[in-house]
Amino acid sequence: MNIDSIKNGIVIDHIQAKKGLEIYNALNLGELDCSVAIITNARSEKMGKKDIIKIDKNIDLNLDILGYLDSNITINIIKDDKRIEKYHVKLPKQITNIIKCQNPRCITSIERKLDQIFILSDEKKKKYRCKYCETLKED
């Protein structure tokens, strides 16, 4: 299967297979006016199968969302058909307004205009706790 290469834009690579659509939605890529391609189950030497997202435009990506959803992702910035930058996303120390606290006793359940903030509590296990009530985000 052939997908056209992009001249100027971003390739989000090494996405865990079947997770491409989730990332597409989390980054609101459907709202862009440029071409966006999601490739699922692409062959990968390292991963066996992987997903890839190609965006035909250079945009500001929310790296916290990417790092939280899949910290193995790599970002490739393409300019004039050449890759000018490649970097890995990191597990963010804090994430804001990406997930919601599920604890019905948490202040976030009633307080208006309060950011939903989660803090990384265990890097090895990728565990996050609500900043306010310290409830663990369940997988």
């Binding site: 006793r105 948490c106 202040i107 359940s109 009633i110 307080e111 509590s121 900043k131 009530c133 663990l136």
Partner: protein
Amino acid sequence: MKNLIDIKDLSIEEIEELIKVAKDIMQNPEKYSEKCKYKKLATLFFEPSTRTRLSFEAAMMELGGNVIGFSDAQSSSTSKGESVSDTIQVVGCYSDIIAMRHPKEGAPLVAAMKSTVPIINAGDGGHNHPTQTLTDLLTIACEKNRLDNLTIGVCGDLKFGRTVHSLITAMSRYKNIKFVLISPEELKIPEYIKEEILEKNNIEYIETNDIEEKMENLDILYMTRVQKERFFNEEDYLRLKDYYILNINKLEKAKKDLCIMHPLPRVNEIATEVDEDDRACYFKQAKYGKYIRMALILKLLKIS
């Protein structure tokens, strides 16, 4: 330190300093009787709690200060739909320091993020109650003359009991502390307390459902009430509420200098016959609570 939201906000040195000041207040109350003259404490109790509120109010009054506030969310603007952030910014205009209890977990942190005056968390749902923990630490320091080298039994609701979680967190920072965790299966200590506090700090602990099993080893026995308000299911509460009742017979093998503590209020978990025993410290504990809150108010208001 600007606020006290979580016992973890305090270093061991800061806790030592608070205990030292509290002991000095106990010995020389007159020296402190006007320290907070012209200062106002607002007690914002969005959830009823008579003893914690009275303890704060007595503490401020004994420092020569004044008290304003409410003891029920129904008598505040919250019943009109006001947010915590708005309430706290308004009350900050009328007071120098705020003690706040709220049923929602994390509400005092939200208050501290907006407040212009110091905030003391006086309990937020099943989450934190740092001044109870300070009370417990002062009680242990006064009754045992140390905060290290202790075997501490905690008994009752270890699942929802925030006082237990905070006490374990606070005591895990001292040397040679061992815990005996006594609870029915359904109310066992949460896994994260074991993993993130006990095991992370290499604290020795055992779990049992038998209150008498390790009684002879205990220096402190911390009893807790099974709290009705933490249960969604009435049936579970009724089945578990009287699981443990400490009486004189169960203390037969206990050390002569055991310190029996309870955050109060008690229901049936300690038989009233135990009150006469020299090892019962829970009413003294309530008194220590006032002194440590006095020390805390002074510290947060930066009054030496």
